[in-house]
């Protein structure tokens, strides 16, 4: 089986506190993997470690078959991401932010107009990002992540700040991307109902350690919803 993400025995300690403890994670190519956990459980840290924004103390990370190291990682040109709060060059407009992204990713900017339209940002394209609302920033961050049609998407709480219509739109987009282009999606969210609608597999992290990896089919076969499963697991019942 080919894996889009392979995390083997990754540990990270900051100021004496272990934030990731011997994490093992394998996400097959083409899957939508929902990543769950309480605040501070280690979801964002894990996602940062994938990019070496947080450099692991030990263990190995592979993205799309390439080992991630401190130097140049060519594979990042095939990965799109939204990690934690979306960051932009706030004094530039949305269009220029996407142009810069294209420059760094080594792609032409011909798809910018289309992606702005897809995320309902055409009218705001020439507006400085510092004047965007949280929801608009979130949509622009997703537009940026989708722009290069990546093979792997890493999305940390991507539906934060979106209205119900926006959440529905993102869900449909993710499902289409996964179906049409076989894009692997690694997504974290607190909105369990949304995760349960799109994820093939759920991973649960607690205090920096992986608690469980389970397919949505398995959860459904137990006749319980994701929220109930999660709460049982956290309380040590499942």
């Amino acid at each position: 089986m080919t894996y889009a993400i392979e995390v083997s025995d990754v540990t990270k300690t900051i100021d004496g506190k272990t934030i990731l403890s011997h994490v093992d994670l394998r996400i097959p190519q083409g899957q939508i993997y929902g990543f769950m956990g309480a605040n501070g459980a280690g979801k964002t840290s894990m996602m940062k470690a994938l990019y070496h924004i947080l450099v692991p103390d030990s263990g190995q990370i592979k993205l799309l078959g390439e080992v991630i190291k401190n130097g140049t990682n060519k594979v990042f040109s095939r990965v799109g991401s939204v990690i934690e709060t979306p960051v932009f060059y706030d004094n530039f407009d949305g269009y220029k932010n996407l142009q810069l992204h294209c420059g760094y990713m080594g792609i032409d900017g011909s798809g910018i107009g289309e992606i702005l339209s897809l995320f309902d940002l055409t009218d705001a394209a020439e507006k400085k990002v510092k004047h965007y609302s949280l929801g608009m920033k979130q949509r622009l961050a997703l537009a940026r992540a989708f722009l290069a049609k990546p093979d792997l998407l890493i999305l940390d709480e991507p539906i934060n700040g979106l209205d119900p219509q926006g959440i529905n739109q993102i869900r449909v987009l993710l499902e289409n991307l996964n179906y049409q282009y076989d894009t692997t999606i690694f997504i974290s969210s607190h909105i369990l109902s949304e995760l349960s609608k799109i994820a093939d597999t759920i991973g649960i992290i607690d205090s920096g350690s992986m608690l469980a990896e389970v397919s949505m089919d398995e959860i459904r076969s137990k006749n319980i919803d994701l929220e109930a499963y999660y709460l049982r697991l956290i309380r040590g019942v499942a």
């Binding site: 130097g71 140049t72 060519k74 040109s77 990965v79 991401s81 709060t85 960051v87 932009f88 420059g103």
Partner: protein, 229 residues
């Protein structure tokens, strides 16, 4: 690296800085003309013996250029490097297919090339203007130093002016970066050893430049391997 420099320049335009540099040089020229005139007037009084200041106009101008450009370089460091960490856009850069070391070195090379160019342009401007003024105005005095010495002093000044990177990165603060540059100006312009400032003594300039280079390399090594918070 060329591609990364082009991308940096799309985010950080040098055009406004070039206009600012021209304005700064005009102000420096007027200021050193005023100082030379003032010292000339003082020389006609008996009190002048107490001052013992022997600075020609071009030396004053080059000292002021160095002082201004050291602070200017700190502004570049703050805008191009420290601010990226402060606003967390450095995270974004780390998600692109370039190593962190390549990204940071590109920024540093860009700063050094820009600043060496600024020094050369400013020095050339002051030399030309003061040379021609010295032919017309009696109190304007000019002399020409060895070109290699001037070039070594310029490169050393640019390297010394990288020290604020270490302080700015330690505190992730734009203000700390600029304040540390002002402290460096005060130190390097001190009249210990020479009335034209420490950086006017070639050997000391090279030593200070080497210290600046070592501190920057240590800082960059830390920046490449540390977590981004």
């Amino acid at each position: 690296m060329r591609k990364l420099i082009d991308l940096e320049l799309k985010r950080f335009s040098l055009k406004g800085h070039l206009a600012g540099l021209f304005t700064a040089n005009i102000i420096i020229l007027f200021l050193c003309l005023f100082i030379s005139g003032f010292l000339n007037v003082l020389g006609s009084f008996e009190l002048a013996d107490l001052l013992e200041v022997e600075l020609d106009t071009i030396t004053i101008a080059l000292m002021l250029v160095r002082a201004v450009l050291i602070v200017w370089q700190a502004v570049f460091i703050a805008k191009i490097i420290v601010e990226e960490y402060h606003s967390k856009t450095m995270w974004l850069l780390c998600t692109y297919p370039y190593g962190r070391s390549k990204i940071i070195w590109t920024k540093l090379v860009l700063i050094c090339i820009a600043m060496i160019s600024f020094h050369i342009l400013s020095n050339a401007f002051q030399h030309i203007m003061i040379y021609f003024l010295s032919l017309q105005v009696s109190f304007v005095t000019y002399h020409w130093d060895n070109l290699i010495v001037q070039l070594a002093t310029t490169i050393s000044t640019v390297l010394l002016a990288l020290v604020p990177l270490a302080i700015g990165m330690a505190r992730k603060s734009v203000i700390a970066t600029i304040v540390s540059a002002i402290v460096i100006v005060a130190f390097s312009s001190s009249s210990q050893g020479s009335t034209a400032g420490l950086l006017s003594i070639p050997v000391i300039a090279v030593i200070l430049g080497a210290i600046g280079a070592v501190i920057s390399i240590i800082t960059i090594k830390k920046m490449i391997t540390a977590d981004l918070n």
